[in-house]
Symmetry: C2
Subunit: 248 residues, 2 copies
């Protein structure tokens, strides 16, 4: 059974401030929670599941010792904890993943300038994971990657892709030796590029693009050639297309 | 000022049945409404805008004759009409676009098998438009392209891309001479394909993929090679990547 303090605690985690203080985040649904439980990188703090879900879990350390993170809740209790329109069996609180120091010099890093839509950000993290990108650097205006909606959109990639926040102009300045690419509307055709094994790729905010102060630091502005008439592509879709051509 | 019957009418258009009966759909926001107003393909039926928006419109036939589709509403009236979290100046009712008969034999057609998420469907229509695809055939299980959320996600491409609904197995059977491609998990690498100028590309439901009865009719199953660990890609992202390689 849920106690009031538990409900309040989980609800407080809707706020970045509390997630940061506790270094935890919330994930929902059997698939995502199941993946995080075995990731080895996101220790479970508390897992609130309906009986059917709990019963289906393999035995785990602590399940029978009283130190178990598993708590059985009723369907209506789950509804109080969930941020989903349709609550889905389980709500879990996990420690934020910890990653080894990234090797920016020998890999491709994705830089995001002001991706404010939480779903877009999560989808981009998932795309990065598909293409083997291990780190994403977000400008401070980007959504928080541990936002509930972002976590859900990553579909588990949040435990495999390291997402950092930094001022991008300074960051690019400190990595000026890396080949730099950026998605713009009037650059070189993406299809003319060779594959890259190291460097940075900057994706901008969908409405405003990439800030000028960043663009001036980018050696290779590139464009996805347009054949038809749509004015733009969604930032996540553009990211997928670019990565498929330059690292795929 | 809004009258009650107008409010009820617009609210009824949240239902596919009423949209179909009237052959109309709803679009919101200055950018999308502005684009539809000049499309030549989606005549305006009624446009409800706040004063600032109305005042900013160019003179148009009927604006001063009493036959104008423009109605001024207050911010709170707009809120009653809008389906957006943040209503945005204008809500418009438009006639559904009418297209010339598609030439399936001489172009690329996108087939969607069970894309149920309205936002995903709209994003795919927008991607099709970017890559010059003029027609999309949806299985009956797909979301309705005139759903409010889908219309918004198309960002105006709904007036340029013809979206049809049909049983896909029968449709493919009737176009058996066309080269056929489908996104699957264990096909030929997308990167080995040559560009195509005619044919069909089938995209499946994200959770369940493409139905077996369709897959058996597809000559060229293809796959976006995975480097990292994400289990899948969002259907819209996959569509963008595939189109950039085969028609881009």
């Amino acid at each position: 059974m849920l106690v009031r303090s538990q409900v309040k605690y989980i609800q407080s985690l809707a706020h970045k401030k509390f997630r940061d203080e506790q270094a935890v985040f919330v994930a929902e649904g059997p698939k995502l929670v199941g993946e995080l439980l075995v990731s080895g990188n996101t220790p479970a703090v508390d897992i609130f599941g309906v009986r059917d879900w709990i019963d289906a879990q393999p035995r785990h350390p602590g399940k029978s010792t009283g130190h178990s993170p598993y708590h059985e809740v009723s369907a209506s209790e789950l509804e109080r904890l969930s941020t989903l329109t349709t609550p889905n069996q389980v709500v879990g609180i996990f420690r934020k993943p910890v990653f080894p120091s990234p090797d920016f010099d020998q890999s491709v890093t994705l830089l995001l300038d002001g991706i404010q839509d939480p779903g877009n950000l999560g989808t981009i993290v998932r795309i990065a994971d598909w293409f083997g990108i291990r780190q994403v650097v977000c400008s401070p205006e980007c959504a928080d990657v541990f936002n509930a909606k972002t976590v859900q959109s990553t579909m588990g990639s949040i435990c495999r892709v390291q997402v950092l926040y930094d001022e991008l102009a300074g960051w690019i300045g400190r990595h000026a030796d890396l080949p730099s690419y950026a998605a713009v509307l009037d650059g070189v055709s993406l299809y003319q590029l060779k594959k890259i094994r190291r460097g940075i790729i900057v994706i901008g905010n969908e409405s405003h693009g990439i800030r000028q102060e960043l663009l001036t630091r980018i050696a290779h502005p590139l464009t996805i050639p347009r054949i038809g008439n749509a004015e733009s592509l969604n930032a996540a879709v553009a990211t997928g297309i670019i990565l498929s051509h330059v690292v795929g």
